[in-house]
Subunit: 461 residues, 2 copies
């Protein structure tokens, strides 16, 4: 999937990973185009002036900004920043392009690289100094339109996680402490890694309110001829998605890839035996690939003669291909193939007459089973706690903690301070949109004040 690079925190996305990214990209790009979002490309570089224009925003990003100070042998007159995100790159031009209400909504997106020079534990996909993402930036005449779009985009992110990557996520709202620097409110899809007991932010859809509009003077004349300020959103998902997938589905044999995103859905392996009809077996493998490919299934045969079938099985299991098809002498004689699922090892003999239908059915089942198993494991980690000592115990057990909370920023800071340690502090992950009932008089797990909502807490990536 990846290769470590000679600059710490940078990684090479090899084709096996890149094709997963491309599969998600194709889906998302088509969906946002239906919503009339248009693609564009803004520069990689930001001048210091605009970068610093929104105070909270630059405070959030400043420590991670990489600076270009030289070209060739010469020093630049002014150092130039590399985008950590593009709000400040784009919005001076939104201010220029938006004049009247007919210029709204303005909906742009770009697929690009961004750089955040982080110093804490670089991890492939999850925390890398350069990563690929899409970033959507939209401007509306009214808050209602902005609010609606925030949730439409969040639903697309849920779709990518649950339907493509087979990963259950929770839709919710981030706390004031955890929201996007400079924005009004942040929604996200949150995943959870049972093995490590950590939550992970999957993708975010922010309503920026009018904060950036104020700093960058993005005004328009409304239908009544009055000067108004736009309402803005920004939203993004990145190659981090691939890392979440690796952690959620991987097992002790290697990767497990969901059929919908896997570059290869079926690997066909010949299993010749002594004096059996080897050529016939190889031909049947090639024919099987043609039949499956013609039906739109991504299939290949591994016909290398210098590796044993057993070696090939392990190799393709490690790479996570969802379905393996084996063809040996007995299969050839019976006009059948043997299909072996990567997710649960289940073996099925399939008549070559029904090959396409059966393989399609199995791929669907694998996709669904990966999701079901992941959801079961995730749900088994959820712990509802009320008083503080339960919280501390559940945190020690690496649980995904659902707790009643007073929703005060100082209390979250206090929780962080009280749980600081080798494993990292606990923080709020999100307040789920689907709220369980909160009986009157329920108290906040941390402050003892009246609770306002149920919120997920835990350690996170």
């Amino acid at each position: 999937m990846i290769e470590y690079y000679d600059i710490s925190g940078c990684y090479i996305l090899r084709p096996w990973a890149m094709s997963i990214w491309e599969n998600m990209q194709t889906f998302f790009d088509a969906e946002i185009k239906k919503m009339k979002v248009k693609n564009c490309y803004f520069p990689l570089f930001v001048s210091p002036g605009v970068l610093q224009k929104e105070k909270d925003h630059i405070e959030g990003f400043a420590p991670e900004v990489a600076w270009v100070t030289k070209s060739g042998e010469s020093d630049l007159e002014v150092p130039i920043a590399i985008r950590p995100t593009s709000e400040t790159v784009m919005y001076p031009y939104y201010s220029k392009w938006i004049r009247g209400h007919r210029d709204l909504p303005l909906k742009l997106n770009q697929w690009c690289n961004v750089v955040r020079w982080e110093f804490s534990n670089p991890t492939p996909f999850i925390r890398s100094r350069e990563f690929l993402w899409q970033e959507g930036h939209t401007a509306f005449a009214t808050k209602e339109e902005a609010d609606t779009e925030v949730l439409q985009i969040l639903e697309l992110y849920r779709h990518i996680y649950e339907e493509f990557l087979a990963i259950p996520v929770t839709k919710g709202r981030k706390s004031e402490l955890e929201k996007f620097a400079g924005g009004l409110y942040t929604t996200s899809v949150e995943a959870f890694i049972p093995n490590t007991g950590r939550g992970i932010q999957g993708a975010t859809s922010h309503c920026l309110g009018q904060n950036f509009a104020k700093m960058f003077e993005i005004n328009f004349e409304n239908e009544k001829g009055e000067k108004s300020m736009v309402w803005q959103n920004s939203w993004a998902y990145s190659t981090r998605t691939i890392g979440v997938m690796v952690m959620v589905h991987g097992d002790n044999k290697g990767l497990v890839l969901p059929p919908k995103v896997s570059a290869l859905q079926v690997i066909v392996i010949p299993v010749p035996y002594k004096d059996a009809d080897t050529q016939g077996i190889f031909d049947a493998c090639a024919a099987t690939v043609v039949t499956l490919s013609d039906a739109g299934i991504r299939a290949e045969a591994d016909l290398r003669e210098n590796y044993s079938p057993g070696w090939k099985y392990s190799n393709w299991e490690m790479k996570g291909v969802p379905l393996r098809i084996e063809i040996g002498p007995r299969d050839l004689a019976n006009n059948q193939v043997r299909a072996v699922r990567r997710d649960n090892g289940e073996k099925t003999d399939i008549s070559r007459v029904f090959l396409v239908e059966q393989v399609k059915g199995m791929l669907d089942k694998i996709q669904q089973n990966l999701f079901d198993v992941a959801k079961q494991k995730r749900d088994a980690c959820i712990e509802v706690v009320k008083p503080w000592d339960e919280f501390v115990k559940a945190l020690g057990q690496k649980k995904l903690i659902l707790a009643p909370w007073c929703d005060e920023e100082e209390v979250e800071k206090d929780v962080k301070a009280r749980t600081r340690g080798e494993m990292g502090a606990a923080k709020s992950l999100c307040t789920p949109f689907e709220q369980p009932e909160l009986p009157d008089g329920t108290k906040c797990f941390a402050s003892g004040k009246p609770a306002k909502k149920w919120t997920y807490w835990g350690r996170s990536y």
Copy 2:
């Protein structure tokens, strides 16, 4: 198409330009995938050590490299370069990944941004400090395979220029002086801008030979068990293509976009008149868009009520939409529409019964006519010269000069020196693969030595 940015030499690609890029990208990406090229993504950053490994290569790029020296408030231990191209980024890993002949060919491509901090006249699309491109990097066991691929890719580049952008190009080989720094030989497609009398390199497909393989130790064990070095190619085309298109087809009314790449192929404009059936006209416009869209034609209606039809005509002409459809009271009464071509202003009344076929036919004709006209203009600029004084005269007349040449590097340097001036020096553009006959005894236009080939010369971008 673009917007100037507050950092000199950087430009914003607006959706109108980006969609042209996406149309070319969709074609090229599918074609290289058929050739078994796989997409990947390597980091933006290069460590100084590997950047400097190939001497000629770094000499060629060093003056234009941008350097990151700080992150946040801290200085980096070692300055890090931003890729001007990715040979030195990728090949250390090719060395690691390629072990035996079964690992070959290795064919990777990436769609990405690169940075060349040039100081000479930044020009949108043509010479910008950051641009988007694809870069393919392949490694083969034999020179024959590498040679073959160089030409296959060059043919795809010709296809993009001639079939998509409607721009005639010449396939040929670059001189030793103009070839890729560190490579063995460079082929290119060369376009010419009649208005400015300058040639422009359209895209390049390089055979790197074994130079990089030697420096980066990219070796493999061949079928006989012997250690061999790989043969490598690299090839790229960039957003410069869009700039060439703008210059070749644009006229005094604005852009002229070829139908195959235009975001919008047809703009439908209602032409209401006094007490005519305005609602009927607007409905007919909307219905026309639906009919065309259902047939796969990219069409939209401009139903804004606050602009006159005349204003809309100019606006969409300026944006270069290939075909305008007008619907007025008489058209409504006759169940017809009026189609107006952007390329030559030709007006045709079309019965709504045959709308789709006729519009498709007209779009094909526009595409072809743009190419034909461009070719005619380009060909009219070609001047065959033999002695030096003819060369100087033709250069003054901004011609595309085809001259017999001795193919010596010193002679090209001399031509550059002798033509240096305000307009820039002349240089060789390419030696076309299709060579006119070269009679025995023909002398080089510049040196008087025996000529070896016909070569195109001129000023260039």
